[in-house]
Symmetry: C2
């Protein structure tokens, strides 16, 4: 991790203190040199993913608590590892911040925005045993956080997007649409604040609950590892852009089609069918399995639901279709577009 | 690599076409899934580094050719691998761009800014045999590029900042101050353009030559590998922030002091002593070796110069001192501060 100027040196020292010395057999060298050094076990492949989060695009400084922004940045990367069935080895963070976000201030006067961002990020990291092993810090006119996750998975055993087969059944972990519903609740709250032009309305217990899937999504690492270790899944992807869009990705990479049964979808309480299909950022796992394979109803405490099946690719039918009481209709990829409305 | 909207899909497809299928025994899976999969050889550690480049901070869209911005982003990461004596395995890029930079336009009408950025980045990648194996793309109000380099180095053989010993001699590859001098030439040219408020003055042959170390620095991968494989160096760091600052980093991590002989410094033609000491971004290697070890005068075509020695850490002397005709004086860490003057 390299520091340049403004409060960077102080911030870097603070992070080093919080992160401590690298621990465990996987980390040979953490923050402080030109590179970190990691060690995979014999017979393992290294999984690498990077996810960029930008103010106004993936989060909004004026909407999201800093803890949630840190949590969500890391959750995006961990969810990619989960979708490969990989165990996390280390996280790296490149963080660009306007200087005022590194200075103490606001309601929690002793803590800067950056401190609270790291509270959220390191809290989730700790709960999954993932060390922050390095990264980069820089002053930036816009807050940006690029999270890099390094994982490990036994050779030739990673869950891929490209290996689903016609005839496979389609499953999803957890419930869908909760993040989309939470975002709409947040949008409504912020719009009401704007209209009233005064203090933020109090967060009711019900609102807090409805925001949780959006603010603090839980990556399904244990579920991905379970599927990989027991060789249950033929293909997998995480639901970051929304079921309709991510299922299209899976079908494109596997060269198959898919049919989703609307009645079977595990819609999150308070969410709509549209949010479950197109909401995005649920970070659940979408996976396929051969029809003869028995998939447990819950994996590590999270429900698993069969929501459809995989078919052959054909010019005569849509890549993804939705079965409803009205019959079968094409399901277009209309995954949620983050904060694109606020930009450009 | 994940795409969201604007021209991202087209840009992503263009990159996938240019990058092609992953090649070589190290890359099991490239762009297109939730993670890339890499494979280290038995007995190797994995080296990881991330480097964030931000418009206005590490480069300026109005000053730097897009090819140079792409080249320099990758060079920063490769130089970190060089400083560890690691061989590069794969690069990942998280790129945030304003939409207009992804659209064709400008003098090379068929090419977007992004195309030319990738020309520079992929050109350097090819010359070092490093595949681009993944990353992330997003719309951003400010151009940001986070480069991630994954390398491999035999276990316990990486060159570290923390292992220089009192009595060691201090060496540097190549020449110093060329990047700093190039930047000053570029600044002068841009200031003159601003004064004249008209077209850019033509680039003379001499100017082009003087800008090269700044625009297209060459990471010293072959030299770092040579030192690591022959076990010649006791410690190493790359010169990204400037000799004065990076030597302080080396001393702090190794808990030693250092003395630099000003007369011995291999100053780049056209550069000043100040630029050689504090200019930054030369991306040469600074390394230490035991006095009995014979260091070649050139490694893979690049000169190596002995510039000083390592001493014990002591309260009675400065951490880094400079020996000149006036005697010995403290050398403060005054490494170049990128474009901080333009921001904040």
């Amino acid at each position: 991790m390299r520091a340049k100027q403004f409060g960077e040196i102080a911030l870097l020292e603070g992070i080093r203190r919080r992160v401590g010395a690298p621990r465990g057999p996987d980390i040979r060298l953490g923050i402080g040199d030109d590179c970190a050094l990691l060690r995979a076990r014999q017979g393992e492949d290294i999984a690498v993913t990077t996810d960029l989060s930008i103010d106004g695009r993936h989060f909004r400084l004026d909407w999201h608590p800093p803890e949630a922004i840190g949590h969500r940045a890391l959750a995006r990367g961990l969810s990619d590892l989960a979708a490969m069935g990989a165990r996390p080895v280390a996280a790296f963070l490149s963080l660009g911040l306007p200087p005022q976000l590194t200075r103490p201030g606001g309601r929690k006067a002793q803590h800067s925005w950056a401190d609270r961002f790291f509270d959220g990020l390191l809290g989730l990291a700790k709960s999954h045993g993932v060390p922050l092993a390095g990264g980069d810090l820089a002053e930036s006119p816009v807050a940006v956080a690029d999270i890099v996750l390094i994982g490990a998975v036994p050779r030739n055993r990673a869950l891929l997007r490209s290996t689903a087969k016609p005839g496979d059944l389609l499953y999803v972990t957890g419930r869908l649409g909760g993040a989309g519903a939470g975002l709409e609740a947040l949008e409504a709250r912020m719009a009401s604040r704007k209209r009233q032009s005064r203090s933020i309305p109090p967060i009711s217990h019900r609102l807090r609950e409805s925001l949780a899937p959006h603010l603090y999504p839980q990556p399904r690492l244990a579920q991905g590892l379970f599927l990989q270790r027991r060789r249950l899944a033929t293909g997998a992807i995480d639901l970051s852009d929304g079921l309709s869009t991510d299922l299209h990705h899976l079908c494109a990479e596997s060269r198959v089609s898919a049919q989703v049964d609307a009645a079977a979808l595990p819609i999150h309480p308070g969410a709509t069918l549209d949010q479950a299909l197109n909401g995005g950022e649920d970070y659940e796992l979408l996976f396929t399995a051969a029809p003869a394979v028995r998939i447990p109803r819950t994996i590590a405490g999270v429900t698993v639901t069969r929501i459809g099946r995989i078919g052959a690719m054909s010019r005569r039918r849509p890549v993804v279709s939705l079965l409803t009481t009205r019959g079968q209709e094409p399901l277009a990829p209309r995954g949620w577009q983050h904060f694109s409305r606020q930009l450009s």
